[in-house]
Structures are given as C-alpha cells and as structure tokens.
C-alpha cells in the first residue's frame, strides 16, 4: 500500500502566468537527504532544509543574466554547478556569497542540462545532443562540441539516472547515452495511430537493465526495458514497449503531465485526471502498476505545471504559486497488502466476482464494444424519452456522435444529471440487464460515481435502492467510487453502509473508522441484512439461556479469582457464581450486526491506529465492552460461530481488542468507568493465557508420541525374508 501524507509548502513559485511551460527549472538532491537545491525560472538558486522548510543559502545572478538549467550538487567535489545564459558554467561552494566571484567557464555550445548522479562526476548535456564529463569539459572549455541531433530535433525531456533523452520532430526518438564505454543509441518511439505525444520519461536502473516509463499524451503509460549490458547494433531501432496503464483522459489529450517511479510497483503522476473526480481538479496520484489500482491521491489547488520530482521519500510538486513537498510511503506491494490483511473468506461460489477493474482488458477491446454498447443505449433512449419531459433531443444528437469515441455509458451518466429519481432506478436496471460482463464493471463504476456526485450536489436526490443494487452487482469497489460509503453514512443509510462493508474489499482504514464512529454513536435503523441480525439474535438468545447449565455439568474451578470475569452488573452476585461469564449485550442487536461488519473488514493495523484514535472515550468503552461481550460469548460457546452466517472470527475480535487498546490505552487507564472493564478483561485474558500454557505443555508431551516409531520387536535375533526388485 502506498500512502500520501500531509504536505507542506516549501517555497513560493514566482513564475508569472505568462510562462506556461514550467514553474521551476528544477529541484535537485543535495548532499544530505533532507536538503534540496531549487532553481527557479528567474535568477536564483536556493538550498532548502526540507524538514525545517528553511532556506540555508541562496544565490542570485546579476540582472540581465538568467539561469538556464537547474543547479546541481556534485557530490564528488562538494560544489554546486549551474549554467547561466546557456553557455556559462558556474561552479561555487557553500561559502561563496555571490555568483560574481565564483568560477565560471564559457563553452562554445548551448548547454541543455547538467546531471549529477550520486558518486559520479557531473555530466553536461548540450542542446544539440553531445555529452561531456564536466571535468573533461572544464579542462578545455572551448573545445568543439559535435552536433548529434539534426536541425529540426529538439530535446524534449531528459531523465536522470541513465543519460537518456528524447527529441522530436515528426517522429519522436529516444537517445540513450552510456558511459564506459561511451556510446549513443537511438530508438524510435512509437506514437501509435492517435499521434499521441510522449509527455514524460522516467528511467530507473535495476538489475543491469534500464526500465523506462513513458507517459503519452493519450494517457497511456508504457514501459520499455533496455539491457545495460548487451551489445546493441547500430542504427535506429524501434523501442519495444509494453502497456502498463491506460488512464482515462477526459478530452482525449493531456497537455502536461509528469510521472516518477517510486518503487518497483508504484509510480506517482501529476497532471493526469483522477478517474472518479470531476473535471477541472488536479490530483497527485500514486498508481500501482502491478494491480493497476489507484493507491493514493491528493488534490492540488491551483494550476499544475506537469513537473514532479521525488527525493528520499518525498514528492516535490509545484502547483499554483507554491512548491509543495508531500511525503509518501510505499510498502512493498503484494496481493496481501493490496487487499488488506483480513480479506474475508468468500467460499460461496456465486460470490467469486473480481472487483478490481482491469483497465487493460476493458480498454483494449473498446473499439468493438463501443459500437455494440452504443446500439444498446440508443434503443433505450426511447424509454427515457417517455419517462421525462426534459428537452433532451439536442443533447442526444450530440451523444450519438460522442458515443463512438467514448464509453457508451457516458451517455447515461450525463443524463443522470437531468432526470428524476424514479427514472434513475428504472434506467439503471435496464442498463444492468443489458450490459456485457467485462464492460459492466466500468459502466457500474461510472454510474455509481455519477449518482453519488449528484447526491452530493442535490441533497433531495438519494436513490437508495439503486445504489444498493449497484453494490450488489459486486462490480463497485471503494476505489472506484470513494464517496459512496461516506454518502451512506451522511444520509444515515446504514443498510447501504452495511452492504458496502460486506462487498468492498478495499475500504481505507479511515473510512472504516468513520463507519465505526457513526455506528457507535447513534442508530435507528431499519432494514439490515437479515443474516447478520439473526446471528446476533441467536447470540443474545444464547446468553439468556445460559443461566441453566446442561445436565448439571460444572467444570472444576481452576483458580478461584482468576476466572472471575463477571460483568459489572453481575458482580454483585459474588464469586461463587463464577461461571456466569455472560454479560448483557451492551448494544442493540442491529448495532451489533453493524459492528460485526466492521470487525470483518480488511485492514492493516498501522494504518488503522491513527484513525482509531479519533474515537471518543465513551465510544471506546462501548466498543470494548462489545468486543469483550463477543469474546466471552465465543469462549463460552464455540457454536456461537455459526458456520453459515457471516460472523467475525475470534482472531478478528482479538485484533480489534488489541488495536483499540493500543490506540487508547492511556485514555482508558485514566478513565474511571473503564477501570472495571479493563480489570475484567485482564483477568479473563490471564486465565486464557494460563490455559494456553497448559495446553502448550500437553501438546509438547504428546508431540513426542509422533517421534516414537513403531519399533519392531526388539528381539536380538530374527530371521526375515526380504525381496529386492
């Protein structure tokens, strides 16, 4: 799982609105992890200590001069290197106060970029494609520089870790410069039929191979792997590529976007629209390429420039009038972490439906599907016509044109904005029945997010039944429609919330906690899922019946007080009645059923903890009481875990007890009303631990039985017959 944390502003961005292409010249790493060199578009270079948000040093060029490439820190020599006015290389140290007195050298060709990879000498890339080591260049600054690129080619993007850049005229080419031995390779970048332009390149070196990520203006992200070792024949080759992601792009083309690889499976992107957010908002997104899921997103205010850097666990993105630093965290992604720790076991055959959208399979097929889908939708238009009196005719004409290029359900989605509640239900039903399976997910996802956004804008509009129906298709998941669950909570539609909790495999911990909070707070609910309620009813019934023991059996008391875990209400009865382990269920049956759903959601402890802390003390006490109730019940009556019904397992209960105690321990200790509860819990747990110890001993001694082989008769002498084959 990847997560974006709260960001902060490092510095302002001074670029005027006239400069469209970039906000900053660059952000480069400095000697320490916590420091960066920021070069702005004007005349200054500033070193920041990032965690303190404080500039450590700043240098300005004289009026009339300008910086033309981002300043870099050369770890070899401990100096900064920058270029002014395209041809003057300037080198200075920390203690130099102004640019004027620093070393400078004028070279005889325009410099495009300087690169300083860690532990190696800086490299100068000229605008016409030649490459020199900085030291070699400074020995003879006026040395002639050859031209690699032809006249009409321009360097469009340069990546850091390997010297690769691409240039563009009609076609786009990728040049890969290697050192030791020096060689330059030229690859042709495919642009496909749509004439998509490469927007951003990102290269990482792993296992002797260069992994290039290339984001095209069509929203496609391709990966190419080039070997560092193998000899490559001369001449232009077509760069082999594989499609990693195809991101939805509203209007066909991205203008400026940037991609940065964070680790093997995760990458950050800026300038690419969020799949379920409305247009006009800009997001910083972390995508997982292995699962093709959106891992985290953060909205950025102001315009973005399509620039993004990542150094030591932080993303640097200029937007609006500021450069924002956003720390991120990428845990190594695996299926387990992607789906959370406690993926509930869905053993029933009918429930086996994938809920993660596979963009690949969906979108590769769209050309064929479009036409099919479009036809289907058109037949339905007549129905809709009769159902409402909004003048749709001009719009529909427009859609028939659009529908060949966009996903067909778009048609309906826009219509949703205009029609009434009753019609929505019917239309959605129609669509659901008429859509083919692979497309269903996409359609349902879009439908759901549009419905939700309409609900949010129009407080009177709330199609509970339709939403429930959509959730029931199991094609919606939380990342497809992030606001659905929150909307249900807002509208106090707890039965929908329960459905979501049951069906979404990917609910973030924050939302889980919000649900928990809401459920603990108040509850007047009606229609919950019958199974879960009947399970709780059964459990409460067990607890009432429990007073009478069956056939007079009375287990021998291990230790008089250690097992005394009576609830406060039954405490008065005294110790003799120790077996009355039951406490009344502290919450109502329906509330309990909802809480059970919470207990069964997938979650990761470390992400859950901060959100759990939001609960108030009263909520925590209530929740703990309920957990204790469940725990005691399970301990008492194994059959409480009815096999057919959805019910939390003991492990899940224990996990939640641990997490809750962990999050609120100090509060609970201070709280007088929690005292009894904690004492009882402790006593009971202690008795259980003792039991486990004893069981462990028995297990240990019985284990040896396995080792005892059936020793043949220990006779000193026998005569046997054997056969060999």
């Amino acid at each position: 799982m990847a997560a974006l944390f709260e960001g902060f502003t490092l510095c302002g961005v001074v670029s005027g609105s006239a400069r469209a292409e970039a906000a900053l010249l660059g952000v480069e790493a400095e000697r320490e992890e916590d420091r960066v060199v920021v070069t702005d578009c004007g005349r200054s270079v500033t070193v920041y200590k990032v965690s303190d948000q404080k500039p450590l040093g700043s240098w300005h060029v004289r009026q009339g001069q300008s910086l033309t490439c981002p300043a870099v820190w050369s770890s070899r020599s401990g100096e900064y290197v920058a270029v002014t006015d395209s041809r003057v290389i300037r080198i200075w140290k920390d203690d130099d106060t102004t640019f004027e007195k620093t070393f400078k050298a004028t070279v005889c060709a325009d410099v495009a970029r300087i690169h300083a990879a860690a532990d190696s000498e800086p490299v100068v890339l000229f605008a016409r494609g030649a490459v020199r080591m900085l030291d070699a260049l400074l020995e003879a600054p006026q040395q002639p520089i050859e031209e690699v690129l032809s006249e009409e080619e321009v360097i469009r993007s340069v990546c850091r870790c390997a010297q690769c850049f691409y240039s563009c005229k009609e076609d786009c080419y990728l040049y890969l410069q290697r050192f030791n031995p020096n060689s330059l390779h030229k690859y042709k970048l495919e642009t496909g039929e749509s004439r998509a332009r490469p927007l951003s390149l990102c290269a990482t070196v792993r296992n002797q191979s260069i992994k290039l990520l290339c984001l095209y203006s069509s929203g496609c992200l391709y990966q190419s792997v080039l070997s560092m070792r193998g000899t490559i024949q001369d001449g232009v080759q077509l760069l082999p590529r594989t499609l990693l992601l195809r991101l939805p792009v509203e209007d066909g083309h991205l203008s400026s976007a940037s991609v940065v690889s964070l680790d093997e499976g995760n990458l950050a992107m800026v300038g690419v629209p969020h799949p379920s957010a409305s247009a006009g908002k800009e997001f910083l997104c972390i995508w997982n390429t292995n699962f093709q899921t959106l891992q985290a997103a953060k909205e950025l205010t102001g315009r973005i420039y399509g620039q993004l850097w990542s150094y030591s666990g932080r993303l640097y993105v200029p937007h609006g009038k500021a450069l924002t630093v956003i720390p991120y965290e990428c845990e190594r992604s695996s299926l387990a972490t992607a789906l959370g720790r406690l993926q509930q076991d869905r053993s029933d055959g009918e429930q086996l439906v994938t809920t993660v959208v596979s963009w690949n399979t969906l979108l590769h097929e769209d050309t064929i599907q479009h036409q099919k889908g479009a036809r289907g939708v058109e037949t339905r238009q007549s129905v809709r016509h009769r159902g409402n009196n909004v003048p749709l005719a001009p719009m529909l004409r427009k859609f028939t044109v659009v529908s060949f290029t966009a996903v067909p359900s778009l048609l309906l989605l826009l219509i949703i904005r205009y029609i009434f509640l009753s019609c929505v239900t019917r239309d959605v039903e129609m669509i659901l029945s008429g859509t083919a399976d692979p497309e269903l997910q996409l359609v349902v996802g879009r439908l759901a997010s549009q419905l939700v956004s309409r609900c949010q804008s129009d407080s009177a509009f709330y199609p509970h039944h339709t939403l429930a129906q959509l959730v029931h298709t199991r094609c919606v998941c939380h990342s497809l429609c992030p606001n659905l669950l929150m909307l249900a909570l807002e509208k106090k539609d707890y039965s929908l919330a329960q459905l979501c909790l049951q069906h979404f495999p990917d609910i973030p911990e924050a939302v889980t906690c919000a649900c928990l909070k809401a459920f603990l707070d108040d509850l007047q609910t009606e229609n919950l899922e019958p199974d879960s309620v009947s399970f709780m009813e059964g459990m409460v019934a067990v607890c009432k019946r429990d007073g009478a023991l069956e056939n007079g059996f009375s287990p021998v008391l291990l230790e008089e007080d250690s097992c005394d875990v009576n609830a406060p209400t039954t405490r008065a009865k005294g110790k003799a009645d120790w077996l009355v382990l039951d406490m009344p269920c502290p919450v109502g049956v329906k509330k309990a059923a909802l809480l059970n759903e919470i207990l069964q959601t997938a979650h990761t402890d470390s992400f859950l903890l901060p959100h759990l802390k939001d609960l108030t003390a009263q909520q925590v006490v209530l929740f703990l009481q309920y957990l204790q109730f469940l725990y005691l019940k399970y301990y008492q009556d194994i059959s409480a875990q009815a096999p057919g019904l959805r019910s939390p397992t003991v492990t899940q209960i224990m996990d939640w007890v641990c997490s809750t105690l962990d999050a609120h321990f100090t509060v609970l200790v201070m709280l007088p009303e929690a005292r009894d509860l904690l004492f009882q819990l402790h006593k009971f747990v202690r008795s259980q631990v003792r039991l486990i110890c004893e069981l462990g001993k028995i297990q240990g001694s019985l284990q040896d039985l396995h080792k005892l082989k059936q020793t043949e008769d220990a006779d000193l002498y026998s005569i046997e017959v054997i056969e060999l084959f």
Partner: protein
C-alpha cells in the same frame, strides 16, 4: 530380482569408548582422537572423514591429552608417561615417564621445539623435541595443586597454566610465575568446592581464555593479570575449549552436551572496539563434551556419548557440499565382525575378547516381509579373552569355522576350533617367528592358508594344517611403501591375493607362483572395502569417496563396467552418503551382482543393468514394488538400495545364500552410557 532370507543379528554388544581428547593437524588435515580406553584414531578430513588409522589401546595406558608436533603424535596420560607413536606400525614408539605423577595435559609450542606437560604434583615440565625422541629439559617453578591445562603463547616465551582456583602465567625463560589470576568459585552452593580450570587458551594478543568447573568462560588480560569478561554458559562444568586458527572465534563444550561458540566481534557494526560475544549454541551431544577442535569451517566435537560430530559453521561456508554438512561418526570404519560362511558362524571382536556365535535356523519358507519361526536359536559358542594388556587390533575366522586368529600390537595367536557336539579350542603352538603382530588377518577360501599383514606393508602367507603351521612366503610391495595394510582379499580359487594399504596402494600377488602380480593404478582416495569376484577374478574396490572400481586381475586393466561407471558418473545421492562402504560380497546366484553396505543401508549392484543418472529416482525400491513385472524392467537401475536395516556393522552372505546383517542400534549404545547431567525437562 530376488528374495533373500536374512539373519538379523542384534546380539553383538559392541560398545565404543568415550572420546577423551582430540587434536587437529592443520597441515595434514588429520584429526587425532583419544578415547577413554586408550585407543587412538586418526581421521583424514581430506578424504571424506575416513578413519584412516587406529592404534589399539592398552589397559595400562591412558590418553589424557594428545598433541601433534608436525607429523609426530604425542600423548600423555594419567600413568604419568609421555608416549610417541609410530604411525606406520600403529603402535607406541616409546614412552617416557615424566616423574611428576599423573599428567593431565600436554602442549607444544608454536615453534615445535618444546613440549610442556602439566602434572599432578603441580609442576610444569619442559621437554625438548629431538628428531627421534624427546628429552627432559627443566621444570618451571613448582606450584601447589595440579596443573590441568596448559597453553603456550605463540612467541614461545610464556605459558598459561590452568590449576585449581587459579590461572598462572609463567615466563618460560626464567621459569617464574609472573601473574596469578584467581578464578571465582561461582554460586554460593559451590563455595566449598574448588574451581577446576579445565582449559586455558593463550591468544597472541596476550588474552587468556579459561573454562572452569563452575560453568564460566572467562577472558583475561594476561599482560595486566586482570579479568576482562565472564560468560556463564552452563550450570555444570565447561570441559573443553578450542580456538580457531585466526583467533576470531572459539568454542567451548559443556558437560550438558552443548557446544557454545564465541566470536570476537565489534560492539557496533563497523566499529573498532571488539569484544568476545557468545554467538551460537549447539547441542550435538547428550553427555560431556570432552574434546573439541575448530577446523575453519566446522566444529568437531566428541565426548562421553562416543560419537564424533563434525558440525559446519554455516557462516564460514560458501558452497554447500559433502564436506560441509553435519557428519556424525558412530562406528569404526573397519569391520569388527567376520563370518565363517560355510559354518554359519560369526566372530565378534571386542577390545578385550572375542566371541564366536553360531547362527540359528528357521523352519520353512516365507513370503517377503515375513518373519520366520526360529527353529534353533543362535548359540554363543565361545568367549575368548585376550592375553596381555594390549587390546585386540584385528581378528579373523576361517570360512570353515575351524580356525581363529587374532592379533594385538605385541602378539599374534592362532587357534584351532572344533565345534561338533561340544566346543573345543586349542592354541596352535609354535607359530613361525615372523608372525609377531598383524594389522589385518584373512583366511583363504579353503581355510588352508592364513594371510597376515605385517609391518612395512608385508603380507605373510602361512599354510595351516592339522599337524603344523608353516611360513610359506612373505610378499613385499615393490613400491617400498611402509604404510600399514588394512584390507586383504583372497580369490576363491586360491590364486590371487590383493592387499590395500593406507597409502592408497593396492598390490596383487600371485599365490601359485608366490610372486607379485601387479599394482592397481593408485586412486587418490583410500580404499575402504574390496573383494575378488569368485568366477571372473575381477577385483572390486570401493573408496572413501564412494567411487567404485573394478579391475581385471588377469588382464591387468580396469573392466569395461568400471570404465562405464567412471564415464557416466555415480548418482549424486550415492556420492553424498555419509558413511563409507565397509564390506563387499558377491552374489553366487548371479555373477553380475555384488553387495555393498555402509552404516545405513546395503545395496545390491547389478552390473547388467543401466547405471542411474542424476535425473532418475535413486531409492526406487518402493516405486518398483508398485509396478508390474514388465514396467519394472524399464525402471530398474543398477543400484538396488535397501535401507531397512540401519546401523549396520556387517553384512555377509552365507553359503546357503542367506544374508547375515549385524546391527547395533544406537539406542542400545545410548542405554549403556552413564546417566547424563540431569537437565530439567517437561514431564520428567
């Protein structure tokens, strides 16, 4: 392929003796091992841990400490003598009384010029090592209390001595003690008991490591005479200590059977300040770990539970191979059992006696897997106690069961055995003078000749008859090798005799012409078992690295089958087997088959079948059993492994074509050991 009737014998009460001390010779890669009964064993670590030489013990001699000086081997014992051994004739060369009472320890300096011994009377005596002998030089200052352990500093100018309750550092030049370091007696209950410093080691940086009877491992600064650190590793004694060659780690052995490794490590990663840190704990033994050696990539340990354990230190191992996996050596790598095939009798060799048993008889026949009814029980015919104090080194019974011979380092005796109604035994008088002792004894197939391998690789041929016993001939190897012969094999037709010595040479002699016939090309690994095929007269040899060769004596060249084995290679699992093959027999029913056994299996090798390659299933008996007759043919390969019988000491074939397996289960050995140090375990 065939059914066999198996006499499964478990009444051989073989009991190995506990391990007392060991010393590893880095240069020759040989480990010398002293046992409690005074036996010395030499293992060749280059050659698959093969037990190369055994010097039989002596009742009056004890081995308390063993020490290599270059290629020479010295021991000292509680009889107060220092003994040097003749490693070619496998006997003591000379003994020298140190006149200091029982000797507890012996140590040689790094230069190899002096031996120091620690005596019961508190003296440390220095002996000068001369080419052929050692000579007493002087005493260091005599102290009160016995000297239990000694260690030279590598400069040869100082000696650390572990005594009762203290360690003393001596200056060798002056002979005076320069430091006296007192060892704490440990926990309060033990205050009245003296603390015995069982081992000391003097490192080159003037650090002294000591282990003692209160369970402590202590590191001392000998320059200052102060204690640097104490590690409590056991509740009972820490008995042994071995330091690695580079002095970066050492191991200690406790009386609870554990071995604990300490390493000299930096306190913080990459830091300069280093300290001795306890790193690993093994429990290879059940009883006292009396002897330890650290040999670079492995820890060798031995103790009262009689087994020798070679445990690899995996942090020092780069590639896993046969040489660096765990090895446990329980049984000697030579046969202690000989079988009179024609008479159905077994001879068991103990250090102090011989036992002759007659096998039982069964009734009727049975299906495979059956245990037959024993009509007649096995019978112990004879128990013959040896004369003198020397332990028996080798023995043999003739195939007809009429002759019995055994040898110690000092004498050789031949007996005439008659067991009809009642058993009678008579010593053969007036043996030829050449027969003084033997390393190996063997009878010819018709029991008319006795072959005795003697000193300098000589083999004496003695003709036996009712009336007299005559020396016929002595074969000497042409190579002039003086290594002891450890294997003898005579052909069934009485024409050929093969003798293998520890120098890996195998000589073949012609008994009709009484002339050397040829020498088998020398292979780099020591032969562990060999036999001459009864019909084809091919010599079959198995070496310590488990390679199998077949050599045609008549044609004086390797046979085609042998060449095929070498060309195709043996199966990986065969080459990785842990114990050497100790016996070869031939199946009279099928001339293409012969049988081998090691401690954990026996196998029949069929030369007419294809050899297994590494891809095919090696242990395939269970698979074959489940297949039909036709399918078996396509799946069968030459190695027919039977692992049903474990802990095999012997496997032989009687004339009635039934097999004899002699087993000695380890549990039986363990049950005869003294009780181990009591440790609290659950449910005990």
């Amino acid at each position: 392929m065939g059914e066999f009737k198996v006499h499964r014998v478990r009444f051989f009460g073989y009991m190995p003796s506990g391990i007392r001390c060991m010393s590893f010779n880095e240069r020759a890669e040989r480990l010398a091992l002293g046992r409690l009964d005074g036996t010395l064993e030499i293992f060749n670590f280059k050659d698959s841990f093969y037990q190369e030489k055994v010097i039989p013990g002596n009742d009056s001699r004890s081995v308390e400490a063993v020490c290599w000086v270059a290629e020479r081997l010295f021991t000292a014992g509680l009889n107060g003598e220092i003994t040097e051994y003749d490693l070619e004739n496998l006997c003591p060369k000379y003994s020298l009384d140190a006149f200091g009472g029982p000797i507890w320890t012996v140590a040689c300096n790094a230069q190899g010029t002096h031996l120091a011994v620690g005596c019961e009377d508190g003296s440390i005596k220095l002996f000068e090592i001369l080419p052929e002998k050692i000579r007493f030089e002087r005493n260091l200052d005599r102290q009160k209390g016995r000297v239990l352990s000694l260690s030279w500093h590598e400069s040869g100018t100082r000696i650390a001595a572990g005594m009762l309750d203290m360690i003393r550092i001596f200056d060798v030049q002056s002979g005076h003690a320069t430091h006296r370091m007192l060892v704490d007696r440990g926990v309060s209950g033990m205050r009245n008991h003296e603390c015995v410093v069982w081992c000391v080691a003097f490192l080159s940086d003037l650090t002294v490591i000591s282990t003692d009877s209160s369970g402590k491992v202590q590191v001392w600064n000998a320059a200052m005479g102060i204690l640097s650190s104490t590690h409590l590793v056991s509740k009972s004694d820490v008995l042994s200590l071995a330091v690695s060659k580079d002095e970066s780690s050492f191991v200690v052995g406790t009386s609870e059977g554990t071995v604990v490794q300490f390493q000299f490590l930096a306190n913080i990663l990459g830091g300069d300040e280093k300290a001795w840190v306890r790193t690993k704990t093994f429990k290879p033994h059940t009883h006292d770990v009396r002897a330890l050696a650290e040999i670079g990539t492995a820890v060798v340990s031995g103790g009262l539970d009689t087994q020798l354990v070679v445990r690899p230190l995996l942090d020092k191992v780069d590639i896993m191979s046969y040489d660096n996996v765990l090895h446990k050596i329980h049984f000697p790598h030579r046969s202690l059992v000989s079988c009179a095939q024609k008479a159905g009798m077994l001879l068991f060799q103990f250090p102090a006696q011989l036992e002759v048993w007659r096998l039982g008889e069964s009734e009727g026949r049975g299906k495979p897997g059956d245990t037959l009814f024993v009509k007649k029980n096995p019978e112990k015919l004879l128990q013959l106690k040896r004369k003198g104090e020397d332990h028996i080194s080798c023995s043999a019974i003739s195939p007809c069961g009429g002759w019995l011979a055994y040898s110690t380092v000092s004498s050789l005796r031949v007996y005439r055995l008659q067991c009809d109604e009642h058993v009678s035994i008579s010593k053969v008088p007036k043996l030829p003078k050449v027969l003084r002792s033997a390393h190996q004894l063997s009878f010819s197939d018709d029991s008319s000749k006795l072959f005795a391998a003697s000193t300098h690789s000589m083999v004496h041929v003695i003709s036996l008859s009712q009336s007299e016993c005559k020396h016929l001939h002595t074969f000497k190897p042409k190579s002039g090798s003086t290594e002891p012969v450890h294997l003898l094999a005579a052909s069934k037709d009485g024409k050929w005799l093969a003798a293998a010595n520890r120098g890996c040479e195998i000589h073949i002699y012609n008994l009709h012409k009484l002339k050397p016939h040829c020498t088998v090309p020398i292979y780099g690994s020591c032969p562990t078992a060999m036999g001459i095929h009864p019909t084809s007269n091919n010599l079959l040899m198995v070496h310590a690295d488990r390679q199998i060769f077949e050599y045609s004596i008549v044609e004086k060249q390797y046979t085609d089958w042998s060449r095929r084995v070498q060309r195709e290679g043996l199966h990986k699992l065969w080459l990785e087997r842990d114990t050497p093959v100790t016996h070869v027999t031939f199946n009279p029913r099928n001339a293409a088959q012969f049988m081998l056994h090691d401690t954990y299996m026996f196998c029949i090798i069929d030369q007419s079948l294809p050899l297994p390659d590494n891809k095919c299933q090696f242990y395939n008996q269970i698979t074959l059993k489940s297949l039909s007759e036709q399918e078996r043919l396509s799946h069968a390969h030459a190695f027919k492994m039977c692992t049903k019988y474990q802990h095999l000491l012997f496997l032989g074939l009687l004339d009635d074509e039934s097999l004899v397996v002699v087993q000695r289960p380890l549990t039986d050995i363990a049950s005869q050991l003294p009780a181990p140090v009591r440790l609290k375990k659950f449910a005990t």
